[in-house]
């Protein structure tokens, strides 16, 4: 008899609730650190404004380029394809700095530390948001650096370089950042 009760319950019914369902990806697990840093990249994209010339049209995607050894791996899956102010976030892995034209955000991996001066001089004048997590990135002319302070992620912003690149950084981002100046003052 109890078996009949169980069978009766097997009705297909629609639940009309609203709540989020977690996207569980894990395998082999990208490190927790880069899962979180990837989401920071997505947030930077949300709170920075590029000049109109940076995009061919209103529907063109926002391109995040990774230069050097990719520390994110599968962590980028959580932000790939997300919409940022109406534009889709696409991800490109760059082998060489010559391919930079299409990039709006350039994440420079710590593996490129020695080549940093070359990279930054190549992109001078372009509207590219440079982000990294290598030591003293902003002091050397990068725009946003992700730093780890006591197990939590913080970021430093070099506003001067951002202005030179024609980028507008939202106050939402500025008030949470540590504002840093260049090592050498630029004219």
């Amino acid at each position: 008899m109890s078996r009949k009760i169980i069978r009766l319950i097997f009705i297909i019914a629609l639940c009309i609730t609203v709540s989020s369902w977690p996207n569980a990806h894990a395998d082999p697990p990208p490190s927790r650190e880069y899962v979180i840093k990837a989401v920071f990249l997505y947030n930077f994209a949300k709170f920075v404004e590029w000049p109109a010339e940076a995009f061919p049209n209103r529907r063109a995607p926002l391109t995040l380029c990774i230069l050097g050894k990719d520390p994110f791996g599968l962590a980028l899956d959580s932000i790939k394809g997300k919409k940022v102010r109406g534009r889709k976030l696409v991800i490109q892995h760059l082998a060489r700095i010559e391919d930079l034209e299409q990039c709006h955000i350039l994440f420079i991996s710590a593996s490129e530390e020695i080549r940093l001066p070359q990279i930054l001089s190549t992109i001078r004048g372009m509207s590219i948001l440079t982000v990294s997590d290598m030591k003293r990135f902003v002091q050397h002319g990068g725009i946003i650096n992700l730093v780890t302070i006591e197990t939590k992620v913080r970021f430093e912003i070099n506003v001067g370089v951002a202005h030179l690149a024609g980028l507008e950084i939202s106050s939402k981002l500025l008030k949470l950042a540590k504002i840093v100046e260049d090592d050498k003052k630029r004219k």
């Binding site: 078996r3 169980i6 097997f10 639940c15 009309i16 989020s20 996207n23 082999p28 197990t151």
Partner: protein, 698 residues
């Protein structure tokens, strides 16, 4: 006396089934009313946000997340200097499995053979059988390894699969941290924190072999930083069939429930309290030896299984490099099977402390004590002397992680020291070396010693194994010959020295490969030695007794390779493959009279292959396929088999998932392992089956 015994059993069964019936009705009503409330209630308030969708967090919240857990150092898979495989919740969900043993089939190095509809023989690296004894299994730190026969009664483990966060399988002598009996591996089943299972979930389904199943779970916040969840689960599984397709009596029905409370009492203190309870029965067909012609009796019987456990765990962080954990649990199991009735109480306490000795050295050490008390009801065929026993187990371990070259070379030296009531002191040292040339690859090597301590039955047991009819080739005398199997107080621990080597690489952001190889040298493996036959006149007519005694007169070598590949071929298509190769070479000592145990070589397949494909199709559809190949078992003439499981899942709405799963589709029915010597329950074959399932969150 025998008659009274049976009546008592029947009485117990009747009351148990009334209880079971009531419980079933209650679960049914609970599930039914939940579904009705959810489905007709219209828009309900959104449940608490689950923390895993980080892109929904604000910048402030994001900046508050810790990237390394301040408590025990969370090591990435690439840091592991051992053959590790992790089964994630996603793997469990997409494979369509309905029990933990079935999920274990995707792990390289494990052999999972279904004996009947509720019994499995699971082992790592050889020596399989229902009474496989070289694998340690833990659920949230609680051991489910039975000291009665040194193995796991898989039919008594009922974790709610949706609550499983991951299952870590470590093949090879479990690191010092787990101790004795983790000879060929450790399976660590970990459930999610209460914080991760908030809100409600109802899942229910039915099918051809899965007659019916349902589970309900609800989690909520109790206070700031304190979360709980509670669940109830019911399932009823159909019988298997024999080789001719006739239904057998191995159906299985269990009701279970439990809870978990997690509390972050302060920045560096966390407390967990959890418990479970279950009650059910698992059927089987048994063949007993009998002194009267035709000298064996075959009958169907239900094994009553029930149990409860409660566990508390306290973790305290001193600093980023130093923490401690204290765990206590109580576990009770009642296992009443045709051959032996066992009631067991276990009390266990465990302490661990980790600290940095210097910049290059990290020490983890710990102490443990376990008291296990049993009460056995002896029967004519199986008896233990004494029939009740309290065993104390004292253990200590120490492990030193030495960084020889920063981020490149790490040496781990450790040992576990135990004192048990069967063999006294046991020492299990272990050395591992991990070389990480860069973040992507790792090479590791290890040498370890491990022991498998004697079980209750091997020391205290007496078992009527079989009766050989008179005037037959094996027994030309005019009287029946009763072959008995007896334990021996001098039965020693089985020993293993394992040499392992492995390599893993994150080849590209989409491809991960892991290879592990091993060479195991065993000594003192259990054999059964014949003694001098003698005449006996009671309890029935005169018969010969051929006694056999447990001894340790076998040694051997096993070696193999285990390969795992995880490839995200396309954004929406993931492939996971596992291949296992195993060779066993066993030899009995010169003075051994055992001719059966060598057959263990022929009970493990040489090759096994598992290939899983997961496709995320448009319109929220998921198509998952799982192909398995298992080589033949030469000793039992169990043929090799290919099999296929298919799952189609559909998420029409964020909180609703429907799925239809077909299992073992390539064959009407096939055998995986037959009854071995020493086992009394007959095997059945695994049938092709289909089931449908609905899961709803609210």
């Amino acid at each position: 006396m025998k008659m009274i015994h049976l009546d008592q059993k029947k009485y117990a069964q009747v009351t148990a089934s009334i209880g079971l019936g009531l419980a079933k009705a209650m679960i049914g009503i609970l599930i039914g009313s939940s579904l009705i409330t959810i489905c007709w209630a219209g828009n309900l308030e959104a449940a608490q946000k689950l923390p895993t969708d980080l892109t929904e967090l604000s910048l402030e919240e994001l900046m508050n997340i810790e990237i390394t857990s301040v408590s025990k150092k969370a090591q990435k898979l690439s840091d592991a200097a051992a053959a590790v495989f992790v089964i994630t919740q996603e793997d469990i969900r997409r494979s369509g499995v309905t029990s933990i043993p079935e999920a274990l089939r995707m792990v390289p190095g494990l052999q999972v053979a279904r004996i009947d509809a509720n019994k499995w023989a699971i082992t790592s690296r050889g020596f399989n059988g229902r009474l496989a004894n070289k694998l340690l299994v833990l659920i949230d730190g609680r051991s489910v390894y039975s000291p009665l026969y040194s193995g796991v009664f898989w039919e008594a483990q009922h974790t709610l699969l949706e609550d499983v966060d991951r299952i870590e399988v470590i093949r090879g002598p479990g690191a010092t941290l787990w101790g004795a009996n983790a000879v060929n591996g450790v399976i660590n089943i970990m459930t999610k924190q209460a914080k991760e299972t908030q809100g409600g979930m109802v899942a229910t389904g039915t099918g051809t072999e899965e007659r019916g199943f349902g589970s309900v779970r609800y989690g909520a916040k109790l206070a700031d930083d304190t979360y709980y969840r509670a669940y109830a689960k019911y399932f009823n599984r159909d019988n298997g069939v024999d080789a001719s397709g006739k239904e057998m009596a191995d159906d299985w029905e269990v009701v279970s429930g439990g809870f978990r409370i997690d509390s972050q009492t302060s920045d560096n203190n966390s407390l967990t309290l959890q418990g479970d309870i279950y009650d059910g029965h698992a059927g089987g067909t048994y063949k007993f030896a009998s002194l009267l012609a035709p000298f064996s009796q075959t009958f169907d019987d239900d094994t009553d299984i029930s149990g409860a456990n409660i566990l508390a765990r306290w973790k305290h962080d001193f600093s980023q490099s130093s923490d401690m954990a204290l765990q206590l649990y109580y576990d009770r199991t009642e296992h009443n099977e045709a051959l032996v009735e066992e009631d067991r109480d276990t009390f266990d306490t465990d302490f661990q402390h980790r600290f940095a000795l210097s910049n290059q050295q990290e020490i983890i050490w710990g102490l443990g004590y376990r008291l296990t008390c049993d009460d056995i009801n002896n029967s004519f065929n199986t008896s233990l002397e004494p029939d009740s026993r309290d065993d104390h187990l004292f253990s200590a371990f120490v492990q030193d992680n030495i960084t020889l070259v920063k981020n490149r070379l790490r040496l781990t030296l450790g040992s576990k020291f135990e004192h048990n009531d069967y063999t006294g002191f046991e020492i299990q040292p272990n050395g591992r070396l991990l070389w990480t040339p860069d973040e992507r690859h790792s090479v590791w090597a290890s040498v370890s010693r491990a022991v498998r301590t004697p079980s209750r039955i091997e020391h205290d047991g007496h078992y009527n194994y079989e009766v050989i009819a008179p005037f037959t080739p094996d027994n030309p005398t005019p009287m029946p010959a009763l072959v008995t199997l007896a334990g021996d107080r001098d039965f020693d621990s089985e020993e293993l020295i394992a040499y392992e080597l492995g390599y893993h690489v994150q080849a590209t952001s989409r491809l991960y490969v892991d290879i592990a190889t091993f060479y195991n040298v065993y000594d003192n493996i259990r054999t059964v030695e014949p003694g001098t036959p003698f005449l006996e006149i009671s309890p029935t007519s005169a018969h010969i007794v051929q006694p056999t005694v447990a001894d340790n007169k076998m040694d051997g070598e096993t070696y193999g390779v285990e390969l795992m590949v995880d490839w995200r071929a396309l954004d929406w298509w993931r492939l996971q493959g596992a291949y296992t190769y195993l060779q066993m070479q066993l030899h009995t000592d010169e003075d051994s009279g055992d001719i059966y145990t060598l057959n263990l070589e022929g009970l493990s397949p040489h090759h096994q292959l598992s290939l899983r494909s997961s496709m995320d199709l448009p319109k929220e559809l998921e198509l998952d396929m799982w192909v398995r190949y298992v080589d033949n078992l030469p000793y039992q003439n169990v043929g090799s088999y290919f099999n296929l499981d298919l799952r189609l899942g559909w998420k029409p709405h964020k909180n609703l998932e429907l799925s239809i799963v077909g299992q073992n589709l390539l064959d009407n029915h096939h055998p995986e392992l037959l009854k071995s010597e020493g086992e009394m329950s007959l095997s059945s074959e695994v049938e092709r089956s289909v089931y449908v399932k609905i899961t709803c969150w609210f």
